[in-house]
């Protein structure tokens, strides 16, 4: 008697395989956690891969403008799941109000500075990292951290054009830049797990998942996802999470995972791009290409 693997089983097995390959290959490995549904599914897949444990540190880039519920959710589950959580932030930009919400930068430049640049310098260890102390529940500043050489990211190929060209293991050069034309080949589940000094590798275990797959998996596994994704009575919910000033909710009455899935399958969102609520995409001329080459996730 043979059981048939469902599509979710196949996706899960592939993601688990990639996570284990990353863990085996990179001593300085980190997983980015944006608190959103994709990277939370990724976190869950890590628990699958490592039998309930998360032996990889998680990094959250906190711009300081995140929707407040996101930070609450992050801290609750970091403590509950015993996560080794590191937070990165551009304290200087926030101090000098060099931001879009303060009226001093365009959306795109703000995004580049508070997210891309912060991520780059926090990954490299040049900027301080704030690590969660599980005894006190407080974040403690750490300086002089070692650079991370393997960075696990929850990007999906169906999100927009440039992401569909990523490999599962995509090398980035010494400037964190992505040379799309010169990517090494990747075949038969053999990945580029080696890297030259000064470079790092981005790892994409969710590359083959679609937005619908993510929600179906959340439902199947009963993953506690942040409730910003659900309508709480005002006919609005978030479809994609980001900074409060640049991320708008969409009109929807989906109140739970099942209703979100129905909406994606056959309802109003079955043909509308997921990131339609994100303002910085529009400023970039329709693609995330510029941001992404420079290190955006």
């Amino acid at each position: 008697m043979t059981k048939t693997m469902t599509q979710l089983d196949v996706l899960e097995a592939q993601s688990v395989y990639i996570l284990r390959e990353a863990y085996r290959s990179f001593k300085q490995l980190v997983m980015l956690w944006s608190i959103g549904k994709d990277s939370t599914v990724l976190l869950w897949l890590a628990r699958k891969a490592f039998f309930g444990h998360v032996p990889v540190p998680l990094m959250h880039i906190d711009t300081g403008f995140k929707i407040p519920e996101m930070i609450q959710y992050r801290d609750t589950f970091a403590l509950k799941w015993k996560l080794n959580l590191i937070v990165g932030q551009d304290v200087e930009a926030l101090e000098h109000k060099h931001t879009f919400p303060d009226g001093n930068l365009s959306r795109l430049v703000c995004c580049k500075r508070l997210k891309s640049e912060t991520l780059k310098h926090t990954l490299s260890g040049e900027w301080p990292r704030w690590a969660l102390n599980h005894k006190t529940g407080a974040y403690e500043r750490q300086d002089g951290g070692e650079p991370f050489t393997g960075v696990i990211v929850g990007a999906r190929a169906d999100e927009e054009g440039s992401r569909s060209k990523e490999r599962y293991f995509s090398p980035r050069d010494t400037h964190s830049e992505w040379d799309i034309a010169e990517q090494p080949p990747e075949l038969w589940n053999q990945f580029n797990t080696d890297f030259a000094p000064g470079t790092h590798v981005r790892i994409h275990p969710l590359l083959d998942w679609t937005e619908l797959n993510i929600w179906e998996y959340i439902e199947r596994e009963n993953i506690p996802i942040i409730d910003l994704y659900f309508d709480k009575g005002d006919g609005k919910r978030y479809r994609s999470l980001g900074c409060a000033p640049c991320t708008g909710p969409v009109d929807s009455t989906a109140q739970n995972v099942r209703e979100v899935i129905e909406e994606l399958r056959s309802g109003k969102f079955s043909n509308i791009a997921e990131r339609s609520g994100r303002q910085q995409d529009a400023e970039d001329g329709g693609g995330l290409e510029t941001l992404r080459r420079e290190g955006y996730m």
């Binding site: 599509q7 979710l8 085996r24």
Partner: protein, 611 residues
């Protein structure tokens, strides 16, 4: 696609249905992107407004609209007008969901085409009716066969430019069929299409009434999902071994993905190449009900009844099924994508299954021009885009299956300068070629210039016979303390002795072996240095953590004709016959040094009396 059917499929749920990966390949400009754009548009698979937006953009730039623009998500790609990387797009038919992989046709981007095609279960080859079969049409066809893709259709595109002429179509069909037959691919259908005008893509249209075969969409739906490979023997390459003791978890879990076959709790299993045996105690999982059986495709973790020490990269199989092959020399078919050619006497890294090992090119049998299927002999290197049948050699035996028997454990990639530079399939174990290290040592001995001072003269002067003393055993068992004590003891007795106290951690030896490949290089240097010391008449003492029999053989070979004395400390893991003296832990360094000194005396390295 009809919305009624679509919603029906959706009610049934997509969780049970499987996606199918299809790669679209062909020579540059033969219209792959246009075909995909057409498929997406004609099946209403595009996001709302996308078609209109691209059309508007074209109008704004005063360019005629092309369906290919829908895919060219990247800006520089639009300006060059060619696909540089394999882009993926998602699309649904009545039957199932597809991931369409748009593989670039330009020769410069062959490695991208390979990456795209290696993920596919079936292929669509596109040929321009006007230009006919081109170099890359053939090369791609050949590579598909090598990648293991057996299901394919051929679209003869741009029939509009050929006046929808049946004779043009038939000519291309007979030419390309003849070529593909040699590569092992038998296309299901040849379909005459016009991607630009949409004929025979999602609907037949009326341009080619002489054609009565399926449309592209119908042909895609006709591809079959490869059944799970449960009928073959179990192959579970071990990816890693976990023990999360710090988290209070004492399970020792062997993790990996089952490539073929079935695994059950209670199965007697054996690891290759080590040959270690045990029994499956449990199949572990997080947030899932316990299971007693796992099959091909599943990423699993198992615990064992009898604990064995194996490293990641071994192949776990059942004792009641056919074993894999193990060999140090593999005859392979490989294609090379590296910028630098593949050459002899250079160390590459091999990844096969979960095994990772240093590898050398030993012999080039033939180099094939994949576009013409002509072969060349007597080549001294393998160039970019060459396909070669050659022999590779590793330091230690590697477990694999010939590709004809089990494809999943018969394929590999090669790393050069940090990146995957080649890929291929193993044809068989090669047994009669000369061993690389022995050949090197022979060469070395031949070219080593010596004075008239013989080993005997040295022995007479120093009052000792030279040897390499290797202290082997697990890390942190006091090997270094013993080595130091032994050096001091012999030195005090007036012997010519040296302790080579190279810190193993300097060379990554203390790290998990799987995280680096430096160990073989360290051992090679150690072997060469040992040879100099023993040739000079010295007693050289060194320590190596977790030395295995193959590594010991490397040291012995390189130290030849120098002699060796092997001290096994604690659970040293070597075969009993390899070890000259076994010492138990905890060690008392000076006592143990006394035991080793006595053995040196017994074996006449340090004779008490000499004439």
């Amino acid at each position: 696609m009809s919305t009624v059917l679509e919603s029906q499929m959706i009610k049934n749920g997509t969780q049970g249905a499987q996606k199918m990966n299809i790669v679209i390949i062909g020579h540059v400009d033969h219209g792959k992107s246009t075909l995909i754009g057409r498929l997406l548009a004609d099946t209403q698979s595009l996001p709302k407004g996308k078609l209109e937006a691209v059309k508007a953009q074209c109008a704004y730039h005063a360019r005629p609209f092309e369906y290919a623009f829908l895919l060219d998500a990247l800006k520089d790609e639009q300006s060059q007008g060619i696909t540089i990387d394999s882009a993926r797009c998602f699309f649904k038919s009545k039957k199932r969901e597809y991931i369409l992989i748009d593989a670039p046709g330009h020769i410069e981007f062959l490695k991208n085409m390979i990456s795209g095609a290696a993920r596919a279960e079936a292929a669509v080859l596109v040929i321009d009716a006007h230009e006919g079969v081109q170099e890359n049409s053939r090369r791609h066809g050949y590579l598909l066969g090598m990648l293991g893709i057996r299901q394919a259709i051929v679209c003869v595109n741009k029939m509009d430019l050929a006046g929808y002429d049946r004779r043009v179509f038939e000519r291309i069909r007979s030419e390309f069929s003849a070529f593909l037959t040699q590569t092992g691919i038998a296309p299901r259908h040849f379909i005459p299409i016009s991607a630009r005008d949409g004929f025979n893509v999602a609907a037949a249209g009326d341009a080619m009434p002489w054609y009565d075969g399926p449309t592209v969409l119908e042909a895609l739906d006709g591809f079959e999902k490869e059944p799970p490979r449960v009928g073959q023997p179990l192959r579970l390459p071990i990816q890693d071994i976990y023990k999360f003791t710090e988290q209070g978890d004492n399970r020792r879990i062997f993790a990996g993905r089952i490539e073929t076959g079935t695994l059950r709790v209670g199965d007697a299993v054996v690891f290759y190449p080590s040959g270690k045996r045990s029994t499956i105690a449990s199949i572990e999982a997080f947030n899932a009900p316990p299971v007693h059986e796992a099959t091909a495709g599943e990423a699993v973790g198992v615990t064992l009844r009898e604990q064995v020490y194996v490293r990641p990269g071994e192949l776990l199989v059942r004792t009641d099924e056919s074993p894999p092959a193990t060999a140090r020399q593999l005859r392979v078919n490989l294609f090379w994508m590296g910028r630098e050619p593949m050459i002899f006497n250079k160390r590459y890294l091999l990844k096969l299954g979960t095994a990772r090992a240093p590898v050398w090119l030993r012999q080039i049998r033939t180099v094939l021009d994949a576009s013409e299927l002509t072969t060349e002999r007597n080549r001294r290197h393998i160039q970019r885009h060459d396909v070669a049948e050659c022999v590779l050699e590793t330091l230690k035996p590697i477990a694999f299956d010939p590709t004809a028997e089990i494809a999943q454990t018969g394929r590999f990639v090669l790393i050069d300068n940090y990146h995957i530079a080649g890929g291929g399939v193993v044809l068989q174990a090669e047994s009669n070629a000369a061993d690389r290290l022995s050949e090197h040592v022979q060469q070395r001995e031949k070219s080593w210039r010596r004075s008239r001072i013989t080993p005997l003269m040295r022995s007479y002067r120093t009052g000792q016979r030279s040897t390499l003393v290797v202290i082997a055993g697990p890390p942190q068992t006091g090997k270094a303390a013993l080595a130091q004590a032994l050096e001091e003891k012999l030195f005090a007795a007036g012997r010519q002795v040296y302790y080579l106290g190279l810190d193993n951690s300097l060379l990554g030896m203390d790290e998990d072996i799987s995280r680096n490949y430096l160990r073989d290089e360290y051992l090679r240097r150690l072997g060469e240095v040992a040879h100099v010391f023993t040739d000079a008449g010295m007693i050289l003492i060194t320590t190596v953590s977790d030395l295995d029999s193959y590594e010991l053989q490397v040291l012995r070979t390189l130290n030849h004709p120098g002699e060796n004395l092997i001290i096994g400390v604690g659970a040293h893991g070597l075969a009993a016959a390899d070890v000259d003296l076994k010492l138990n832990v905890p060690l008392n360094p000076s006592e143990a040094a006394g035991q080793v000194a006595n053995l040196l005396t017994e074996r006449h390295y340090l004779p008490e009396y000499y004439l």
